[in-house]
Symmetry: C2
Subunit: 247 residues, 2 copies
């Protein structure tokens, strides 16, 4: 259940792009980072998709997401090699040509000149973006991401993804902060499900989740309350603690 809100929330979706995520070779680290960052600034991450380095799959997913959510963030596929097809796919989704961006070319030319490295045609590929895009700064390795419309196209390497997200954050409309409380339950879900459901009904401004863990042959249970309304959150927390104390 999404966190209830009085005002219309700012929504976001993510599209992680890359064969290596779907083959199991690489364990994605960007989804969790984006999720935590969106929560911290009060934006509701509503959906994530992972697709392969496949143009049709990228186009379809980005089109579905950009029409539905306020912001879309993509990761992966913007390097210089033949399997980096994200910029072309995004251009196709927006129906515009993909071309070398002058600003990105200047940044990269200077970067490689400074390192004494040839600014090859392959490296110039990293300056390609759909017409009408704005570059997203990359303080880690220079090759920029880009924003077109509400879609932010960023790198798959986690340190670069994070740097690009840092660069993007000040440009985003943010929502009210979501506050959270976690309460350890000494009882299993089956023992408290009924009273917990009652508390959820009585506290509609709070989203109450119940998260069991199984470790070392033992279950533990955490009850998590989330709300943008601190008073409503405190009242729901009291109700849950009272329920747990009197079982």
């Amino acid at each position: 259940m999404s966190v209830p809100t009085d005002e219309s929330p700012v929504t976001a979706a993510m599209l992680a792009i890359g064969d290596e995520l779907l083959s199991g070779r690489t364990k994605d680290a960007n989804i969790a980072h984006l999720a935590a960052t969106m929560t911290a600034v009060g934006i509701d991450l509503k959906e994530v998709r992972i697709v392969a380095d496949d143009e049709a799959a990228i186009v379809e997913a980005v089109d579905a997401l950009r029409k539905r959510y306020r912001y879309v963030f993509t990761s992966g596929g913007i390097g210089p090699t033949h399997d980096d097809i994200t910029a072309d796919a995004i251009a196709r989704a927006f129906g515009v040509p993909c071309r070398h961006d002058d600003r990105a070319m200047a940044v990269l030319a200077e970067h490689y000149r400074g390192r004494g490295v040839a600014f090859t045609e392959a490296r110039q590929r990293m300056a390609r973006m759909p017409e009408g895009s704005e570059p997203i700064e990359n303080r880690v390795s220079k090759a920029p991401g880009f924003r077109i419309g509400n879609v932010h196209v960023m790198a798959g390497v986690p340190s670069v993804f994070q740097a690009m997200l840092d660069a993007v954050l000040p440009t985003l409309q943010t929502g009210g902060t979501v506050h959270a409380r976690a309460i350890a339950s000494p009882f299993g879900e089956g023992d408290i499900a009924a009273p917990l459901a009652e508390i959820q009904k009585e506290h509609p401004k709070v989203s109450i989740g119940s998260y069991p863990r199984f470790r070392d042959r033992n279950f533990s249970l955490e009850i998590v309350l989330r709300s943008r309304d601190e008073a409503a959150l405190a009242a729901a927390e009291d109700a849950v603690r009272d329920m747990l104390e009197h079982r």
Copy 2:
């Protein structure tokens, strides 16, 4: 790029369900496990989606995925509490009622009797599944998952998800195994992108990916070759190694 195949590949998709994945509170562990398992048995995982504990979102995603891929695997939302709505959502997607399954009720009744724990109405909720489902065994904590049509509904707790996937695997049609080779490149992507693209063109049965990492202020590059055809894979590997040696 998907791994090319002569025969029609067996495809799969995953739907991970849970607010906690989108808020950043929980880092998903099931996607990477499913991805590695599918690769090991030769099934192509083509798409993953993550949605909240929201019936409409679950219904829409599962409907989109089940019509497009041979198998769908879901994780999360099948416990006894009010926020566990996956069984109802899947029933709605299939247009059938959700009801207590006699086999699941028997397994759970015996389990709780043996532990001297009350088989509460909340715990009985874990025996609910869409009409026409087959239970999926859970050797960790007994409460079963279920399969309806091509959709396999499994728990979100990783040890339980893994146990359920183990139970499901023998029932799946599997494809030819995908073989992989990883080659460390002493050169950056920008230096080898052009010859690597040539090699990709000359070896259409092999999928060639290039994966940079940035750690401790240093980039490293791994070239990964994947194919169901071992001879084609060996030829492409020779071509890549030869290219790297003669730069």
